[in-house]
């Protein structure tokens, strides 16, 4: 599993990358009440706002970590946004991306580096 500075986790499944947010991020967001997911089969660029998460307190974005195609979204989150707080690194993945070249993921942190970032 890889981690971004924006507190996303990236998990490779075959030729796609599954994207979610870390426990640390979910904790900081507070109770999630709404998740707006992107459409599938669209090309996105690194830094594009692809998901909006609304907590009781505020709205925040999830950015596309790399260039690629959104191939799947987790529609469970539309009905049960609270899943983001219950199981952020498991059931509450947000979207899957297909990349041209998975080696772009090498730039991201591994778990130890991420834990250091959040001071855990």
């Amino acid at each position: 599993m890889k981690f971004t500075k924006e507190h996303e986790w990236l998990r490779v499944e075959g030729d796609v990358v599954v994207v979610g947010i870390t426990d640390h991020a979910a904790e900081a967001l507070g109770d999630v009440v709404f998740v707006e997911l992107p459409e599938t089969e669209i090309m996105v660029s690194e830094g594009d706002e692809v998901v909006v998460i609304e907590s009781v307190k505020a709205a925040s974005d999830i950015l596309a970590p790399v260039d690629g195609e959104i191939v799947a979204v987790n529609s469970k989150l539309a009905d049960n946004p609270g899943l983001v707080n219950e199981d952020p690194t498991g059931a509450a993945w947000f979207f899957k991306m297909k990349l041209d070249d998975l080696s772009v993921l090498d730039q991201f942190m591994d778990e130890d580096e991420y834990k250091e970032l959040i001071g855990d």
């Binding site: 507070g30 009440v33 709404f34 609304e54 009781v56 307190k57 709205a59 946004p81 707080n85």
Partner: protein, 368 residues
């Protein structure tokens, strides 16, 4: 950047796991480990303890007699001060010459003086305003050595009665002095409850005693905001400001007959021309409740449309944990203010449906 002030109970909030954020010049707990949602629901189900010591507490002590003070205080707002009995509290509004709201407040008749509680962000302005208006007739004495705690929810009565016998006998908007505690039966959640002024030196012990009562949990600013929004209550600086009149804000209940046209002491407050005219003819715009369709909250600043016409902006909005849906408030042209009016709100570039709705969004349960 101005330095943030710390609350006297800062260390207790940190010990309780409070996440401290800047608010109105203070470091305030926005939430505790339970989180906003649970804190909100707990307050409606049992009891929540809020530290609102950032608010301004002020004593108005008459130089000659209460009658002179009352006359001068009435000249600051469109509210019946003279008719407020000893031991009772009332909601008030300082208005400007244009009929806008300078602040909203609570004031209590405590026999030989008035006790006033104002918003934290406005307290310097309010003290200045009161000194200007009242100095000839009263001393304006900011109370700086006391905390203000709010205990809210259906469990508040039993929890406070256990520590302060007699508190249960109070009715909504009663005030009383219990030893060193100044207590009013009021709050900002729509629930029954109390607001308690306690000397700083005794505040931590008292707060811990309250938290030790069955069902009492510490509640942060996050839930305070969602609770007041569900109750349809205004937050100054968001739902009220110097351009909104009390009539536009739907606070006509706070303007008693005696101060209206034909009343015993009609007019004679700042902005009377506009406020009395709006009372007679209706205001051009009104504060309304809104229910967005679906689950996406519409936050403060969301632009509202009727057809293609921009008609207003959301002044408070979020998710209502007890309503289990997004809720909001906005000012709309009077013609569009009727319950059921269909509008659209611009959420991140998309127009989503939203309907004008009755307030409160969650029924209030004051102990009248």
């Amino acid at each position: 950047m101005t330095d943030l002030q710390r609350l006297p109970l800062h260390d207790l909030h940190v010990e309780l796991g409070g996440r401290m954020v800047p608010f109105a010049g203070y470091e305030m707990p926005v939430q505790y480990p339970a989180g906003v949602m649970k804190e909100h629901l707990h307050t409606r189900a049992a009891a929540g303890l809020f530290d609102v010591s950032h608010m301004g507490q002020v004593i108005l002590r008459p130089r000659r007699d209460m009658a002179t003070l009352v006359v001068a205080f009435e000249a600051m707002m469109p509210v019946d001060v003279a008719g407020l009995a000893e031991g009772r509290q009332r909601y008030g509004l300082f208005t400007n010459d244009e009929g806008g709201v300078l602040d909203d407040l609570m004031f209590a008749n405590r026999g030989d003086h008035l006790f006033v509680v104002v918003n934290a962000a406005c307290k310097a302005q309010d003290i200045e305003l009161m000194r200007k208006a009242l100095s000839p007739v009263a001393e304006v004495l900011p109370v700086t050595d006391r905390c203000l705690l709010a205990l809210q929810g259906p469990g508040a009565e039993a929890a406070l009665e256990a520590l302060v016998p007699g508190a249960a006998a109070m009715r909504f908007m009663d005030v009383g002095v219990f030893g060193e505690l100044w207590i009013s039966r009021s709050g900002y959640t729509g629930e029954d409850g109390y607001e308690i002024s306690v000397p700083e030196a005794a505040a931590e012990g008292f707060a811990r005693d309250l938290l030790a009562q069955p069902g009492v949990m510490p509640i942060g600013l996050g839930a305070r905001d969602s609770l007041r929004l569900e109750a349809g209550l205004c937050l100054y600086g968001h739902d009220l400001d110097q351009t909104t009149s009390p009539v536009e804000a739907g606070l006509t209940w706070a303007i008693q007959k005696s101060r209206r046209t034909g009343g015993a002491r009609e007019g004679g407050f700042p902005g009377a021309a506009r406020i009395l005219r709006e009372l007679a003819e209706g205001p051009a715009r009104r504060r309304v409740g809104l229910r967005p369709e679906g689950r996406a909250p519409m936050r403060e600043g969301t632009a509202l449309y009727h057809g293609e016409t921009a008609v207003g902006t959301i002044c408070s909005g979020g998710f209502g944990p007890s309503v289990e849906a997004p809720i909001a408030m906005a000012y709309l042209p009077a013609a569009l203010a009727a319950t059921g009016t269909a509008l659209a709100g611009d959420v991140r570039g998309r127009r989503l449906p939203v309907t004008v709705a009755d307030m409160p969004f969650h029924p209030t349960s004051y102990k009248r």
